[in-house]
């Protein structure tokens, strides 16, 4: 029929108006269309890969994202001379680096616009084996940090005549700062006495590098490296040390059948978050189950297969319930246990077996010392950990524990877990939870397996401090650096000989506690009463540590801290009280070798100052090769922002020891250019090349790099990441290697001729200093490396702990009744339900991380602050809130009470959010909130001398030869201060994320009250990037500064500050505002003393060494004499 009608349509030819005149004419075939045709761009690409191949990284064209919003190339074509209205094409150079916003070191690429020499965006690095081109919100925030209008533009110095904390600053030069600081350090060291070598202290927040800065301090012979670890994760590391003598666990998430998270960490925040979450997603796609144990329903718990809300600190009881069932139902992997548990040690230690019998840990003495006797002993020992017991102690319903056991057994030997913060960081004694976890995982043989749980040191690369062959003095890998011969009691006090890391959070207390100093000085130690120089690095101890007002007191006291400087790119609470603030770079502005154990492989990332690298790859050469990063940042308009590597090279060679008399200068003097500090390419080519043979072979045989002066450095400069070894499973079974009369174990060499096999197969040999060392184990005739323990097996009987006064905890254990909870209080959380006697008392869970915040560094990332505005409320169970009359949004006084001393610490005022997502009787409020500042702006005139110079005259353009020829002369020196782009002389302070507060403190009582929220403003610096700075709709309040209210709670064994609190909830009083705090820091001092004196078991007159020699003493290598001690009666 249609053909019939067609004859009618033929009439169309007779229309009076031609079709061409009728049609609207919506198509064009002009330059726009041709520009698309002539370009490589298409709306329908063959793949959706974000990243170009590596060979295009030096020159990659991409359509502009913002411009694209106008409608894309189908509407406007591609921009060209003929088609100026088309979509803009960016001409990028991609430079790899690594994120530094959390510890995971995910790969990044900086997309540097050549035409403006700015970083247009940060994306992931597809060559990074662990992050695989992906990042979390914090990774993409690196750009907003780079172009932060409030970032510190030049070195700052406290104004002469002003007091610390007055807020008066002047601009200074890098040279002046380094001269002053270097002289003070040099003078201190020249005293040559023991105290002097404890009087310079470096204090790092998150190191994010593997050994560089520790090497700096080691070359100075100082025991001065202090880390934040004991407020972070040390209770999580202790079980690894006691069990495997390793720093931490290392999961194989991607291949696990059961992902057992003892926290919200890994899957939705916290340690290695993005990489872990991706691997966990891979596993779940393959059918893995996920269990989350957490009193708070985190995002991870919400998407888990099983949520276990255990009372904080009782997790060990759950693990031991699992152990009991595994043992009693004969589900043990006996082959693994027989091979790798140190059962022989226990079964031959009759003293300890008698002790266990005496204490009722076992009901009968073993009849023999065979493996079967051991298994019988374990069954007997763990039989009391019944379902009924576990339910009573943990408050977890029975059906959930039974379900957990089913899943645990179902997963076989593919159970992955990560023992870290969470329960451990919150609770006294919770290190035992991790130890009990390893125990039941070990019973199932899930250690070292594919999909199982393993240990850190096999999965990490630490070479950052090992570039010594490039220097005159250090020798290959630092072999010629003398070991440190002092022991610093301020970081390793005698009360905590087994502390996992430094007792860093007690620094102000120890400096204030003259009675403590006198006590130990009287007993023969030399305890510093002051610090000559205190150097935090990108760290904010005032805000993040417990008892913040005590920190302020000590930082302000010039008799206790004579000279202070913070290496910090941004403003912080701590910086306000410093003598110097020296701006070093962020993720894309510094060099670091950084590796983490995020999957069963050994990979490293290489963090780089991307703008410097881009300049150098374009042909630019620094005027001063030892300050190339500083020159590059000035050229890029970031300001006089440097990096620590070059800073320390220069400081050691030219400022601390300019004449070489201290022996420090040669340690950092370039072998190629004696008299000058080593350069970045020299150092890293050696650090990587001397220690990573596969990388060296690859780089030196790659025609792109083989002709480079520093081929290994160049390879990592271009790739940003490297994997030296993959699929590392069951590494304890690696056989000992023999080469040229030496035997190699765990990468260390020993004299093969001195090797002997002793009790239980333990192999010993002499090291290069002639010292007998356990190096491996022989089992069934096979000589293997084993674990790093003294017995080379997993030590579920930690015999050495009995020598350090903790015999009752040598085996995995948790108090089985109320009597034992009193006797073994060290294992009982200070927020256990037995302490909750008042109807309005609660256990406050504080340690969960917020996935979008980064402690100190996130406060002025607009991108992150905008997505994180929730005032960090108090999660309270609905019926608890109802019972006490609290409704959503109500202000509450949260009063902190210590359960050891019974003292009040004060209170903070926070907002109630009733929810079903928290365990009854517990509260949740992250301690990562409550940032504050004392003023909105600070005026520091732009330039203090006549030498205010323009950094360059040619426009910033990597294609412009004139621009590449220029570089600022005499950078960092007097008279060469550069003009800072668009800087008027006044800078804002964390304008995007921190409100203004007033503080009052009198030595005993401290108060803080917020007085002014943040407002939109017109950014002057980096105005183009910050063009929406006037759009601020949030007030900046990020919760209460609860850390200041918190008293220090040092765990008697691990030294961890146990973050959780017993709190009493009260309604807010008239005048209270959310965010207010009231602190009795006089009481907090007494709380520290109570925990120290009532719980710790320190050195005494019987002690001969400060700490077991075989366990890790982090950061610097100590001479064996440093361990020796004599304590007077």
């Amino acid at each position: 029929m249609y053909l019939e009608s067609r004859r009618t349509f033929l009439k169309g030819a007779a229309m009076t108006v031609a079709g061409a005149a009728i049609a609207k004419g919506v198509f064009s075939t002009d330059a726009a269309a041709e520009s698309v045709e002539n370009s490589k761009f298409t709306n329908t690409p063959d793949s959706l890969s974000f990243y170009p191949p590596l060979d295009q990284w030096e020159g990659f064209q991409e359509l502009d994202g913002n411009d694209w919003k106008r409608g894309g190339i189908n509407r406007h074509g591609v921009q060209s001379e003929e088609n100026p209205d088309g979509i803009m094409v960016n001409d990028y150079m991609l430079v790899p680096t690594a994120c530094s916003n959390c510890e995971a070191s995910c790969g990044l690429t900086a997309w540097i616009d050549k035409k403006t020499f700015t970083v247009k965006k940060y994306m992931g690095n597809p060559l990074h084996p662990a992050s695989r081109g992906r990042n979390c919100a914090k990774g993409y925030a690196v750009q907003s940090q780079m172009y932060d209008p409030d970032r510190i533009p030049f070195p700052l110095k406290r104004a002469p005549g002003s007091k610390r904390g007055e807020g008066k600053w002047i601009r200074t030069t890098w040279d002046e700062a380094m001269t002053t600081i270097g002289k003070k350090m040099g003078d201190t060291l020249r005293n040559g006495d023991e105290l002097s070598r404890k009087s310079v202290m470096y204090h790092v927040g998150r190191p994010n590098e593997n050994g560089f800065v520790p090497q700096v301090w080691e070359t100075m012979g100082l025991d001065s490296y202090n880390s934040h670890t004991n407020i972070c994760s040390s209770n999580g590391r202790t079980p690894s040390i006691w069990t495997a003598n390793d720093d931490r666990s290392s999961p194989d998430w991607a291949n696990a059948k059961l992902i057992f998270l003892n926290s919200s960490h890994a899957a939705d925040a916290g340690h290695y978050f993005q990489q872990s979450a991706s691997f966990i997603a891979d596993a779940r796609k393959k059918g893995a189950k996920m269990v989350v144990m957490d009193p708070r329903m985190s995002n991870s718990a919400g998407m888990s297969d099983l949520w276990i809300a255990a009372w904080p600190g009782t997790e060990a009881a759950i693990y031991l319930y699992l152990a009991n069932r595994i043992l009693s139902e004969n589900m043990t992997d006996k082959k693994f246990v027989k091979k790798w548990f140190n059962w022989e040690t226990l079964m031959n230690d009759h003293k300890h077996l008698d002790f266990m019998l005496e204490k009722g840990q076992i009901t009968k003495a073993p009849t023999g010392n065979s493996f079967d006797d051991y298994m019988a002993l374990l069954k007997d020992m763990y039989a009391p950990y019944t379902l009924e017991y576990a339910v009573k102690e943990t408050h977890v319903p029975a059906y959930k524990l039974e379900k957990l056991y089913e899943m645990f057994i179902w997963a076989g030997d593919a159970i992955s877990t990560y023992i870290w913060r969470a329960a451990a960081a919150g609770n006294r004694g919770a290190w035992m939870g991790g130890r009990a976890a390893y125990f039941c995982i070990g019973l199932r043989g899930a250690i070292g397996t594919e999909g199982g749980t393993f240990f850190h040191h096999w999965h990490v690369i630490s070479v950052s401090g090992k570039g010594g062959s490039s220097t005159l003095g250090q020798g290959a890998g630092g072999a010629d650096v003398p070991k440190v011969k002092v022991w610093n009691e301020l970081t390793w006090p005698p009360e905590w000989p087994l502390s996992t890391y430094e007792m860093s959070y007690l620094l102000p207390h120890l400096l204030t506690d003259t009675a403590w100093q006198k006590k130990w000085n009287d007993r023969g130690l030399k305890v510093p009463s002051k610090l000559s120089v205190y150097i935090p690095r990108m760290y904010n101890p005032v805000w993040i540590n417990p008892d913040g007002f005590r920190w302020i007191e000590v930082l302000k006291d010039e008799t206790k801290m004579e000279l202070t400087m913070n290496l910090s790119p941004v403003w912080s609470e701590t910086n306000w009280y410093m003598d110097y603030v020296l701006p070093v770079g962020l993720a894309g502005e510094r060099h670091d070798q950084h590796s983490e154990a995020t999957f069963p492989a050994r990979w490293t990332s290489f963090r780089q100052p991307v703008l410097r690298v881009a300049l150098e790859k374009s042909g630019w050469k620094a005027k001063n090769p030892n300050r190339a990063t500083l020159e590059a940042h000035v050229k890029a308009g970031l300001g006089e922002v440097w990096e620590e590597n070059e800073f320390f090279f220069d400081l050691c060679v030219n400022y601390i020891d300019p004449d070489g008399s201290l022996g420090i200068k040669k340690m950092w003097e370039s072998k190629r250019h004696p008299g000058k500090p080593v350069t970045i390419p020299e150092w890293y080519d050696a650090a990587f090349g001397d220690n990573l043979p596969k990388l060296k072979e690859t780089a030196t045989n790659d025609e792109r790099y083989s002709k480079e002066e520093f081929p290994v450095y160049a390879y990592l400069r271009d790739h940003g990441a490297w994997m030296e070894e993959d699929k590392i499973y069951n590494a304890m079974e690696r056989e000992l290697k023999f080469e040229d009369g030496e035997v190699i174990s765990h990468g260390h060499k020993f004299d093969a001729g001195s090797m002997s096999v002793g009790t239980a197969g333990v192999i010993k040999a002499k090291d290069h200093h002639g010292k007998d060392t356990t190096i491996g184990i022989e089992i069934d005739g096979k000589k293997m490396e084993g674990f790093e323990t003294l017995t080379r097996k997993l030590e579920f009987f930690t015999q050495w702990a009995t020598d350090w006064k903790w015999r009752e905890y040598a085996m995995p254990f948790y108090p089985r009744n109320d009597k034992e909870k009193v006797e073994m209080v060290h294992l009982v959380s200070h927020v256990n339900h037995m302490y909750m006697k008042e109807e309005n008392s609660f256990a406050l869970n504080t340690v969960f991380r917020l996935p979008y915040n980064i402690h100190t560094r996130s406060a002025n990332s607009k991108h992150l602050m905008e997505i994180s505005q929730n005032h960090d409320p108090i999660w309270i169970y609905t019926k608890d809130a109802q019972r006490l009359g609290f409704k959503r949004g109500d202000a509450m006084r949260v009063k902190i009470v210590d359960t050891v001393s019974g003292l009040d610490s004060g209170y903070f005022v926070a907002m109630a959010v009733p929810t079903e997502a928290v365990m009854p009787g517990t509260l949740a409020c992250s301690h990562h909130g409550g940032r504050w500042k004392l003023t909105n702006h600070v005026t520091v005139p732009n330039g203090v001398t006549d030498g205010k110079v323009d950094p360059s005259t040619a426009p910033r353009d990597l294609n412009n030869k004139e621009f590449l020829k220029e570089s600022p002369a005499n950078i960092g020196k007097a008279g060469a201060q550069t003009k800072i782009d668009d800087y008027s002389g006044t800078t804002g302070i964390n304008s995007f994320g921190v409100p203004v507060a007033e503080i009052q403190m009198d030595g005993k009582i401290g108060k803080l009250k917020y007085v002014e929220g943040i407002k939109g403003f017109k950014a002057e610096r980096f105005a183009e990037y910050n063009r929406d700075s006037e759009n601020i709709w949030w007030d900046g309040l990020s919760g209460s500064w609860q850390n200041a209210v918190a008293a220090p709670h040092p765990d008697p064994i691990s030294g961890m500050h146990c973050w959780h609190h017993k709190v009493i909830l009260e309604p807010a009083q008239p005048g209270d505002k959310i965010g207010d705090i009231f602190v009795n820091y006089d009481n907090n001092f007494k709380v520290y003393q109570a925990w120290r004196d009532q719980l710790s078991r320190g050195l005494d007159s019987n002690s001969t060494i400060r700490r077991p020699r075989h366990i890790k003493r982090p950061w610097v290598s100590l001479d064996s004499t440093a361990y020796d001690v004599t304590i007077k009666s």
Binding site: F9, K11, A23, F27, N43
Partner: protein, 207 residues
């Protein structure tokens, strides 16, 4: 030659009516061209067409009806019918853009005032341009191009317009409240089906 001119004109006419509301100029054509009036019989016979002023006709009858048919109640975009989620693909992933780009055509959205390039008016105008190209090829005795253009027209009809336009046009016919759009819907439906039959006969196989 008449046939291709007729096809070109009809695609242009239908494209224009279905693309945007009418203006006075096109309304005059629709009022006066006898051929057009023959194509649109109810419009031809509609009393109000001759009794109302053009302005009143546009503002109170035709343009409200157009708005109803193409903006409010019906959706004249291909991807609305072809995507499982009934979302209009406004970006570069719209499949119709591939074929436009292949012939160096680019939609000028400022002129078209549509949200995506698979609007029925745009697709019909594309057919009009293919017909115009064919006219040019015939004039230049470029038989190879003629053959290819017929194949392209056939392919475009089958891979795009015929996949969805009938559904829209049938609904339009029943939703319309004025004889002009009622007739246009019917004519457009009949024409594209008829045109496909013709093309199927002359194009050996769908390429």
């Amino acid at each position: 030659m008449d046939e291709i001119i007729a096809r070109s004109n009809i695609y242009a006419l239908l494209s224009r009516i279905l693309l945007q509301e009418l203006d006075v100029e096109i309304l005059n054509t629709l009022m006066e061209d006898k051929t057009v009036l023959e194509f649109l019989p109810h419009w031809n016979e509609w009393e109000l067409r001759t009794t109302l002023s053009n302005q009143k006709l546009l503002e109170e009858y035709l343009n409200p009806d157009f708005t109803n048919l193409s903006l409010l109640h019906l959706v004249p975009y291909e991807t609305f019918y072809t995507r499982a989620d009934q979302m209009i693909e406004t970006g570069g992933a719209n499949p119709v853009t591939d074929i436009y780009s292949a012939y160096d055509f680019i939609v000028d959205y400022a002129v078209a005032r549509v949200v995506s390039s698979d609007h029925i008016g745009v697709e019909l105008e594309f057919m009009h341009h293919l017909c115009q190209a064919q006219i040019k090829a015939i004039e230049e005795s470029d038989h190879e191009s003629v053959t290819e253009l017929l194949a392209v027209q056939h392919r475009f009809l089958n891979t795009h317009l015929l996949k969805w336009a009938p559904m829209y046009l049938i609904n339009m016919k029943y939703e319309s409240r004025t004889p002009l759009y009622y007739d246009t819907a019917e004519m457009a439906l009949e024409f594209i089906l008829s045109d496909n039959e013709m093309l199927s006969a002359v194009v050996p196989k769908v390429s």
